[in-house]
């Protein structure tokens, strides 16, 4: 169980039985679900001393922040917070804005229907290992290049 890193899942359709949530709760002591992206962003920005991994959806209701906006805000304050996107718009978004996601250093990009919850979960674990390793480089032989953009469309 990882106690160092907190996970933020932002998805407006999130329910208690979401398998990714259960998977993450088994691995991490702090998993925060948010159905409103603006609240997720607020939580992150008010707790900057903590270490987060963020798993946002891209599409949110009109009055909420878009996943992309959250990503932009996060990148304004930190280049290192891992962001793993899980969305039903993966195909469309990647086609339209691939370079931007690379530019914003998105760790991984998962298509909702094309990927499994545990794949996403494993990627979060991988990112956590990398984040932990940043504190103590001596304990890890992972390097950034082991971590590549995932596409499963």
């Amino acid at each position: 169980m990882n106690h160092n890193i907190e996970i933020i899942v932002a998805d407006d359709n999130l329910t208690d039985d979401d398998p990714l949530m259960i998977f993450l709760q088994e691995e991490f002591s702090e998993v925060h679900p948010f159905t409103k992206s603006a609240e997720a962003w607020q939580f992150v920005s008010q707790n900057l001393t903590k270490k987060f991994i963020i798993v946002p959806d891209l599409q949110f209701p009109k009055n909420d922040m878009k996943g992309k906006e959250v990503l932009e805000e996060i990148r304004k304050i930190s280049k290192t917070i891992p962001v793993i996107i899980r969305t039903a718009y993966a195909d469309q978004e990647r086609r339209r804005d691939h370079i931007n996601y690379i530019d914003k250093q998105v760790s991984a990009f998962f298509d909702r229907a094309g990927s499994d919850y545990d794949e996403v979960g494993e990627k979060v674990k991988e990112a956590a290992a990398l984040l932990d390793a940043q504190v103590d480089w001596g304990n890890s032989d992972l390097s950034v290049s082991d971590f590549q953009i995932q596409s499963r469309i």
Binding site: P61, Y89, H98, R112, I149
Partner: protein, 595 residues
Amino acid sequence: MGSKLLLRTKKTDRNIRNILEIDWTEYENISTEQLKLFDRNETKYFTDIPNKLWAEKSEKNEKGTELIISSVREIWTEYDIDRLYKELSKLISPLNNLAYPFNIVIRSNEYESYKERIVTSISIQEFVSQEFSLEYDLNSQTQEIIKHDKGKLITVSREKPSFGFIKFRLYYFDQYAKGKFKKTYKGTRFEDFIDGIKVYRNGVITTPFAEQEAARDKKRDIPGIDKRRYSGFFEKVSSRDLVGIIEITKDLNPKIIDATARQDFVINNEYNDFKEFIIAQIHELEKYLKYRKDVKQEKAGQELKTATDEIETFTERIKEIEKKHPAVKDDLDILKKEARKIKISLKKGINATEELKKEFKRKESLYLSMLSLQEFAGMLAHAVKTKIGQIKDRAKFLADRFPDERYIDKFKMMAKNIYHHMIGMNQAVEYALSFSKADTEPYETDMKAVTENVFEENSFRFSQENIRPVVEIRESLILVIARKCFEDILQQLIDNSIKALKNRENKIIKCTGAADADKLIIIFSDNGIGIKDEHKEKIFEIYFTTTAEEGGSGLGLWIADSRIKQLNGEIILAESEFEPTGTTFQISLPFKKEE
């Protein structure tokens, strides 16, 4: 062409030659790497690679600029050089007012025709079917524009545009002119010279590129012509029908930022105005062409009718002759028969023309709404994908973990949710099916009659639920739309209202409609439980529902919304006319199809 460029330039009277080297091989390696890695702290962008710039000593009398391309991937054929010639011939404006004049010379040892050849522009004037030259006048501070006026295209003067004064030459080629041009230049470097509008800044071409633009009628390539389709259709002019030369200058148009430096390119108001200016000019041309076509069609129709009348007169004459000279009756009968045949053929012709006209109108409406169908397909695919993702994750979790006792409650919840998601998905698929079967071709629809009819069809449900329906459509309004679409919208709103009226007193569903300038406004209300503030933004979203327990799938209002979009209309949540409770939707549907 190749991966490495050496640019050498030298002014007269100086003894130094400047040299710039751009090595694209290095760029190529890096750009491939970049698309692979996620962490870019260590890696440069391909644009970060510096170009090498240095100076060399040179002879004083030497002058000019040379471009030397190496690391050539394939050997250049004569055809390749032809293409180069063609592109280079566009580099300098045919209006040619270069601040620093230069010639471009191609030298090739291998090909006879390119031993030493100066690149020149071609003359297209002899082929064009319409030609305009728009100038400006600094004294009166006016800019000329094109305007269509009852079958004529005239130039009129307008005040200074926000982006500054420009010179604009526009050459239009109709099918005949294009055919002639193609025949003359077939197989030569100028074969596809007719390819839209180019912008020259101080005589040298700027680089156009397509922009990301969501709104359909704004989707153009720089600087503004519809490139996608319609060449020759529906009086739309595409870049394959035009050659346009626009002259801008640094001094007169400082706000039109050069598009050649793509990374720094900023779309500002002046640039947008510039684009719209060009679109407006082409639009005037389109109006003119449409007018001409309409007149021609009208004339052809008239001629057919006149011919029918003439045949009538002809038959009358024969009858007169017959009376005077009964002896030739047999011979005249043959003529009468022939005349009757011709008359029938003419009538058939007139009818067929009318039919064709109608069919053309229908097709035009359909084609112009095509993109919303595409968007609709995308929306539907997304809806199904969302559900598949949710079902699949839960099914996998059940397969992986069942019967882990810690999750007994979750298993139950997942099973239930899988069931609900399946129902939702099934409804989405059913909807798609009904869509594929439904008659979605637009035709003249009496909105009052359709509305009353849908309410009539629901009368049994209304009486069962004790609902008082009120329909007030003031006038009989005819819209050219797909009737099925409109029926769907009303049905979904009615279903939605019936749910909202459950367990309420004095139930009312009210639908009023009236024409407003160029659209039909429909107000649809009920005095049910209303919509909570926090849900207001989400109600048109797919799968959003507050009545999941009662079997609500969250598709109703989404369907209504998507159908309305299909009709180029809009639905918004208005203030309830039955305050403090109740719900009111305002729907607007345009009379005219989008131009």
